[in-house]
Amino acid sequence: MTAIPAATTTTHLMTINMGPQHPSTHGVLRLLLELDGEMIIKAVPHIGFLHRGVEKLAEYRTYHQCIPLTDRLDYVAPFSNNLAYALTVEKLLGMEVPERAQHIRVILCELTRISSHLLWLATHALDLGAMTVFFYCFRERETIYDIFEMVSGARMNLSYIRVGGVSRDLPGGFLEKTRNFIAEFPARLNEYETLLTENIIWKKRTVGVGVISAEDAIDYGLSGPSLRGSGVNWDIRKAEPYSSYDKYHFTVPLGKNGDVYDRYLVRIEEMRQSNSIVHQALNILPSGDFIARIPNITLPPKEDVETKMESMIQHFKIIIDGIKPPKGEVYTSIEAPKGELGFYIVSDGSSHPYRLKIRPPSFVNLEALPKMVEGRLLPDVVAVIGSLDIVLGEIDR
């Protein structure tokens, strides 16, 4: 055997276009991958296939009309989007929200967190070949969506939260149905964990994959479970409590190694904590009004609109003219299921936002993808995309 001289062997990189129709890029993400064999030399995410110009559209709508736009950002967690937007406008107006409304918001946002994490777990496991978990997760998600339907009449684009509170009170049967769900959910969660957590193949696919150190995670601006997986204790619910989150007892699960497996464990534990928050909220849910009654900002009660002339005029004025917050700039962020979701509003005193800027967690988290996958193998890309839990609706806006 004669050795082949080094000069005659040349290798070519293969450029592969992953997406936007690829099954596991979670929507319409397009990745340009340069491969050496199956090893990734370079990964470049291309986004924008789902761009609808939400920020620009908002400039031509009254503050209330913007709420349905927010549903369509992270469409698997619409309550959180509604809440972040409503909180921002409320801050701009400097108004207080009734207690009952705050707790209702907490219940729904935590249910949203569970449903969003369920969808993440389902698709993440499916990407790694564990098919059955997918259907188990969707079974529970279905129950949550039934609850959402009870509350708001819609299943996906809920638009339930209003500036000043929520659009209507919780319907009869809600408490019972939610109690049933949270009573049985921990057992279901254990069911998923039996299939995955200690599964040797699952661990082989996730442990040590897509590692990002705590410093890097902060430098890249990661937030949410993707940040906490690296061991950084940053949860806006704890750091800057909103909507009376300071009244609840819950722990913020942290990872150690910042790999796909740790992010998995963090999200699983977060679902448990959310379950416990909903449980607490149901117990301390006070009675009272579900929306602040402030003339020229919130709509008057429907009965009054039908019987009183003044209320009807007020209703008409708010619908037609919208609310007119004072001039100013304001930023508020919340802990959405995927990380820090922030809204930045510039108001010129008119009934439309002068500028609405959204800080979507997925958009920022996605930026860390090339760092996590370069030098690793093609199958790791789907594992890492899954563990970042991105939704293209809010990336492209």
Binding site: M14, I16, H22, P23, S24, E38, A125, L126, D127, L128, G129, A130, M131, T132, F134, F135, Y136, R139, L195, L196, N199, I201, W202, K204, R205, L377, L378, P379, D380, V381, V382
Partner: protein
């Protein structure tokens, strides 16, 4: 032409047609079974509309695929592209030629062996034929002129070659015990005690390698839809795709039949007729395939290779060593 040869010829033809028909039927029922069993494991119903409990679903699927437009990519290598599915399905089917599915029976005064042909090197035949199937997949991956297909093709060729080795070695223990390469002898040797008792390690290695050999979960990397879209058959449509599909199921049935023959006592069993026992054991093996698929995630390509070469291969060599050692001790 003498009479004896004619009878032999007719019997052989009938057996071939019978086995071929039964295998085809099994493929069809296997498709239905997989969808149904997995559905029930995943808290859903599976096909319900076509026929009672979706029994006719595989036929509906087949008809649908048959009438789909058959697309050959413009830049594909046409000959290889067409040849590939054939190359995969034929070896999967002809392996059955040596698998004994029952004892000798007397029909119209003639002794008939319930095996198409009993070759004295049946063991080698099985492996020679089944390794041909790889060519089909490699050809499909290459001829499609698609990067995903190519990656799928490369993966599967590497995977199947690696695991072919352990698959063969895992059966050596049985061959040593039987002292014959004929599959009929292997089955006859298990009249008293099944080989799974004598060769538990061999059985474990065989099962693991078999999953890799037929590209089934957790080793279904060549067609990992989340990474490689559909792997080597990304560009295939219509009946060519259906042929790949059939080949996968035929392969599953083949490796299950070999498992039954080598480890689970072949057609031996009390009370019921031999053929029934054979079918029962075969169904149990196939059920196991489905069960695993709905339980496990998928391994990564390099992990699969490591597992095969660094763990399974030494283990199967160790198994042969131990078997030989004990045989010498026992005399």
């Amino acid at each position: 032409m003498n009479k004896e040869f004619l009878v032999y010829f007719i019997i052989a033809c009938v057996k071939i047609l019978l086995v071929f028909g039964v295998v085809q039927l099994m493929i069809i029922s296997m498709i239905w079974l997989e969808r149904k069993v997995m559905a029930h494991m995943q808290v859903r119903l599976g096909p319900m509309r076509v026929g009672p409990h979706g029994l006719l679903q595989p036929i509906a699927d087949g008809i649908k695929l048959l009438f789909k437009e058959d697309i050959i990519p413009q830049k594909a290598s046409k000959l290889l592209f067409i040849l590939a599915p054939i190359m995969t399905v034929v070896p999967a089917l002809i392996t059955f030629a040596v698998i004994p599915f029952g004892d000798k029976v007397k029909i119209l005064g003639y002794n008939v062996d319930l095996v198409i042909t009993d070759i004295n090197v049946g063991f080698l035949y099985v492996f020679a034929v089944s390794s041909l199937g790889i060519y089909g997949i490699v050809m499909a991956g290459w001829a499609s002129n698609n990067k995903y297909s190519l990656l799928g093709g490369i993966r599967s060729s590497a995977q199947m070659i690696s695991y072919e080795l352990t698959l063969g070695l895992s059966l050596i223990g049985v061959v040593m015990l039987t002292e014959s390469l004929s599959l009929v002898d292997v089955v006859n040797g298990q009249a008293k005690l099944w080989n799974i008792v004598l060769q538990p390690l061999g059985f474990f290695i065989y099962c693991t390698s078999a999953f890799a050999e037929v590209n089934r979960c957790p080793f279904d990397l060549p067609e990992a839809e989340s990474e490689l879209v559909a792997g080597y058959h990304t560009e295939y449509s219509s009946m060519k795709f259906a042929t790949f599909f059939m080949a996968e199921y035929a392969n599953m049935i083949t490796v299950s039949a070999i498992a039954v023959t080598f480890f689970l006592g072949g057609w031996h069993g009390p009370f019921l007729p031999p053929v029934v026992w054979f079918m029962l054991k075969l169904s149990a093996c196939l059920f196991f395939f489905i069960w695993v698929r709905s339980t496990y995630p998928r391994l990564r390509y390099d992990q699969l290779m490591n597992f095969g070469w660094k763990f399974l291969l030494p283990l199967s060599l160790f198994n042969i060593l131990i078997t030989g050692f004990i045989m010498i001790l026992k005399g």
